[in-house]
């Protein structure tokens, strides 16, 4: 059965086409979920893509969280549906309260577009179920506000509940505990700053995002 993946489109999103291309290239079906419509159209999984939703005005994700579609995404997540927020999508999920913590400006106070090494820390998330713990992945990052932060209790909880999904080998942005991605308690909602959809082709430099996105496409059948 082909997995239908809904890709949320806010005004100002810009990685939606890339996410859809990546999903299609891995055999999934991708559909757009328009921000103004309070439905996820019965999809099997949701990607909140990168970009600058509502121009990142006020604060990344601060306006997008109020979009009608986010209520539907929240309900879908509460029913156990797999939801992945990439980059700006991660910021939106933290603002929406689907994931804890926040993303602040990079430690170097510069936008950073480069490729980094990530370590898979758990396979209990929708994005890493098909990967192996300790697996090293080369995946691009592209952000100004990617410096993950949270209070000490939250960090302890994330560590205790095995909810740190990916860590940077060489922390590029100052994130606490080298965190590149986290998940909710159930593991079905994942947020990460790196862009797995940019690492699906040898021609573009890496295929290491494939194992992550394939896990997402396989997630509905695991539920």
């Amino acid at each position: 059965m082909t997995t239908r993946v809904g890709v949320v489109l806010f005004p100002g999103s810009n990685c939606e086409l890339d996410a859809m291309e990546a999903v299609s290239s891995l055999g999934g079906d991708a559909v757009v979920l328009w921000h103004g419509e309070a439905t996820v159209q019965g999809v099997d999984a949701v990607i909140v893509p990168g970009g600058f939703a509502h121009g990142d005005y006020l604060r990344p994700g601060a306006i997008a969280r109020f979009s009608p579609v986010m209520a539907a995404v929240q309900a879908f997540a509460e029913e156990g549906g797999p939801v992945v927020g990439i980059c700006n999508g991660f910021q939106v999920l933290t603002e929406a309260g689907l994931l804890p913590g926040a993303l602040q400006k990079n430690a170097g106070l510069k936008f950073l577009c480069t490729t980094v090494d990530l370590r898979v820390e758990t396979t209990r998330s929708a994005l890493t179920a098909g990967a192996e713990v300790g697996q090293i992945l080369r995946v691009p990052i592209n952000h100004f506000e990617g410096n993950y932060t949270c209070d000490a209790d939250t960090l302890a909880l994330l560590q205790a509940e095995d909810r740190i999904v990916l860590r940077y080998l060489d922390n590029p942005n100052g994130s606490v505990d080298d965190i590149a991605g986290i998940c909710n308690a159930a593991g079905n909602v994942v947020g990460l700053m790196p862009h797995p959809e940019r690492a699906i082709s040898e021609l573009l430099g890496s295929v290491d995002g494939t194992v992550l996105l394939r896990s997402l496409l396989d997630a509905p059948s695991r539920v």
Binding site: D18, F111, C113, N142, L203, L204
Partner: protein, 745 residues
């Protein structure tokens, strides 16, 4: 301030007299303001038009040549590519962040105006010396502006150049190129046809930002920092989120076939967009100045008509399609207001035929009434005096200068040259749209070519290179410009691409100085000669004059952007890379000439005679390099340009973390010469015999010069330096300089 109004607006007495002749009466303030912006150097090319006609513009694959918003070429598979380059030098000198940001915004609008989705931006940047605090402030602001706007608007910045030289102190060159793709059948032009059709203004409100930007900023020299600070209100302010929605809305309008013509609002704002669409369509237009949504109260009609507020477009639509147009704009939260009606053309004999009339409400008082075409077609055309600089020997094509100093320490000279530019481009999203096979930092950028409507991968690629070299052009602007074009062609060959089209940005000093006009004319001739030799059509260009720094004209700096096509992109091109044990082959012949080189400039030397360009040999070198790259026969390749063989070798080493042992370089002149038509190739031993046979058959000179191995770069008898040291200096130069404090002078 007793000077007449027309002079305050930047018009000469003769120009004011022409306007009175055209109108048959004295113009009012509004009319004068409209002529002033449209007849500015920036909009009318009045000093350069005469010379630009000499550039070759035709080829069977050219769909749209110069004169439209962008050049368009057929790249096969039903896909057309729109390309344009522009300068935002003066705004960036005054307000670096917004100047650079709005430069990106403006070039994007030129591209989606043609119906194309912008897919890539390139930024050739030139700043004053890194030792100068103000130049560092400008450099940081410009890079932040491009990063802040370009990343947010969602178009990747995939390459460019970063050059530091004191000639650009206080007057940076911020050029920006944009490439877009469209289904070939969807090409739209910026024209208004069909009497009774509506002119709909899309996007931002109109404010007081950027009033007279083209005449105040771009068409006059700079004096001192204090006076420049006064000009800051003439710099526009950009909003990338508005632009992103505007792009999506316009592309959706075009996809739905709802627009007859569309035009972006750039320099000279509504005046330019309304008069250009009307005159291109052979029509007139009535514009209701009260229908234009304003950002602030109390704006005068002349301010509204000449404002350069950003993120605005003018769409010409049929009345029956208006509701659908407004619906799409609502979806994207884009403001849309009918501000004009297309009226009859000049051919009808109708009294209002071909007129651009500015009205105080449709049916209300006429505030301005001018022939629409006169704002363009009747713009002054100057054949300004030209004179070669003193010391120029035309017969010997030599510029008098002191003797070159001896080269005492090649290793130290090389270390002074190396600079990694990733500090700049790692701040740009250069990967969006999953096209970037080879990003910034290489010889040329390589992009996958996907169909813009279906997303289908053609298996082919596009390549882009931007190049300029003021050092060469300062010695001999004609040959220097030809060498710049040649370098771009060889850069494309190094990634396996054949060139299709060239756009240029001609950055020069004050055209009222005869030497500057001579440089401009010579540069255009050099470009024309090279482009003809290489069968390369010029499909668009931009001229930026009055680039002056601290009382001096900048060195002549024609910048070219060349688009190429890769016929089979199944594998990545080899890139600037060495592999252990690879044999180093120097392709092409070296002329031991240092005049005009980076090495000479670093020694404070100017003048001399540039190394010669043999176009026929150059094409053979480019052709064989392209074939070897596409055949997968090279492990690495780097073209030889600024810094000569020495810098090419150093970059190969630091980018690979591998050393090279090189011999058969006679002296420092051969080591640092920038003579054209040369690359260094890294070839594995088992490929070497075949590669040498191919080179021999192509009739191209070549020589084995060394092997890639170890942890030192050594050139026998000339230099020996550790790759680690080279790498550290290379990596640290920009971050250290730009992190060392800046000043807003």
């Amino acid at each position: 301030m007793d000077q007449p109004l027309h002079r305050a607006l930047g018009l000469t007495d003769d120009e004011a007299a022409s306007i009175e002749r055209i109108l048959g009466r004295a113009p009012n303030h509004l009319e004068l303001a409209m002529f002033a912006v449209m007849w500015s150097e920036h909009c009318s090319y009045k000093s350069s038009r005469l010379h630009l006609k000499r550039l070759p513009t035709d080829a069977p694959w050219v769909l749209v040549g110069p004169g439209e918003n962008a050049g368009v070429v057929d790249v096969g598979d039903g896909i057309a590519a729109a390309i344009r380059i522009e300068s935002h030098n003066h705004p960036s000198a005054i307000e670096p962040y917004q100047g650079a940001a709005t430069g990106v915004g403006g070039i994007l609008r030129d591209i989606f105006t043609m119906g194309a989705r912008p897919i890539a931006v390139m930024d050739p940047l030139r700043f004053g010396s890194l030792d100068d605090a103000r130049s560092r402030w400008i450099a940081e602001g410009v890079v932040n502006g491009i990063s802040g706007y370009g990343n947010s608007v969602g178009v990747p910045t995939v390459g460019g150049e970063t050059v530091f030289d004191e000639t650009y102190a206080d007057n940076p060159l911020v050029n920006v190129l944009c490439l877009g793709l469209l289904p070939a059948e969807r090409l739209v032009l910026g024209q208004a046809t069909g009497e009774g059709n509506l002119a709909v203004l899309l996007g931002s409100t109109t404010g007081r930002d950027g009033i007279g930007g083209v005449s105040v900023l771009a068409s006059a020299g700079f004096s001192d920092a204090e006076a420049d600070a006064q000009k800051r209100p003439s710099v526009q302010v950009g909003d990338p989120f508005e632009e992103k929605r505007l792009i999506e809305a316009c592309l959706e309008l075009l996809e739905a076939g709802l627009v007859v013509g569309i035009q972006d609002l750039g320099g000279a704002g509504i005046t330019c967009a309304t008069s250009e669409t009307a005159s291109r369509g052979g029509m007139g237009m009535d514009v209701d100045v009260t229908a234009i949504p304003l950002r602030e109260a109390g704006m005068e009609p002349f301010e509204i008509m000449t404002s350069e507020s950003q993120e605005r477009m003018l769409a010409i639509v049929e009345p029956s399609g208006l509701d659908a147009v407004l619906g799409i704009c609502r979806k994207w939260d884009i403001r849309a207001n009918v501000i004009g009606h297309v009226t009859s053309g000049p051919a009808t004999g109708d009294e209002a035929g071909g007129r651009l009339r500015i009205l105080d409400g449709f049916g209300g008082a006429v505030l301005a009434d001018v022939p629409a075409a006169s704002l363009h077609d009747d713009a002054p055309l100057y054949d300004r005096p030209r004179a070669a600089p003193s010391g120029w020997d035309e017969a010997g094509r030599t510029l008098a200068g002191p003797e070159l100093p001896p080269c005492e320490d090649p290793a130290a000279d090389l270390l002074a040259m190396v600079a990694d530019t990733s500090w700049v481009w790692s701040q740009y999203d250069h990967q969006l749209y999953l096209n970037t096979v080879e990003g910034p930092g290489g010889d040329a950028t390589v992009l996958r070519l996907k169909h813009p409507a279906t997303g289908a991968d053609t298996g082919r690629g596009l390549a882009l290179s931007t190049d300029g070299n003021h050092r060469w052009c300062a010695v001999d602007p004609r040959l220097g410009t030809a060498l710049v074009v040649a370098e771009a062609v060889l850069n494309l060959a190094s990634v396996g691409a054949r060139p299709l089209a060239l756009v240029n940005c001609l950055n020069f000093g004050n055209p009222e100085h005869p030497e500057v006009m001579w440089q401009l004319s010579e540069a255009i001739d050099g470009m024309a000669e090279a482009c003809s030799s290489f069968d390369l059509p010029v499909v668009g260009g931009n001229v930026s004059l009055y680039n002056e720094s601290r009382g001096m004209d900048i060195d002549p700096t024609p910048v070219v952007g060349v688009l190429g096509c890769i016929d089979d992109l199944r594998r990545r091109p080899p890139g600037v890379r060495l592999v252990e044990g690879g044999r180093l082959v120097l392709v092409g012949a070296t002329q031991p000439e240092l005049s005009g080189s980076l090495w000479a400039r670093d020694k404070g030397h100017r003048g001399g005679r540039l190394p010669a360009l043999d176009p026929e040999l150059h094409l053979r070198v480019a052709g064989v390099v392209r074939d070897l790259v596409n055949g997968g026969l090279l492990a690495g390749v780097h073209d030889i340009s600024s810094g000569g063989l020495a810098l090419a070798l150093a970059e190969l080493c630091v980018r690979s973390g591998l050393g090279a042992q090189v011999a058969r370089v006679a002296d420092a002149a051969e080591l640092f010469s920038e003579s054209p038509s040369r690359v260094v190739a890294c070839v594995t031993p088992d490929s070497l015999p075949y590669v040498e046979r191919v080179l021999g058959n192509a009739g191209v000179p070549f020589a084995r010069i060394g092997v890639a191995s170890g942890d030192r770069l050594s050139v026998k008898g000339l230099l020996d330096v550790s790759v680690a040291e080279l790498g550290t200096v290379w990596q640290q130069r920009l971050p250290e300089a730009l992190g060392s404090g800046t000043t807003q002078g």
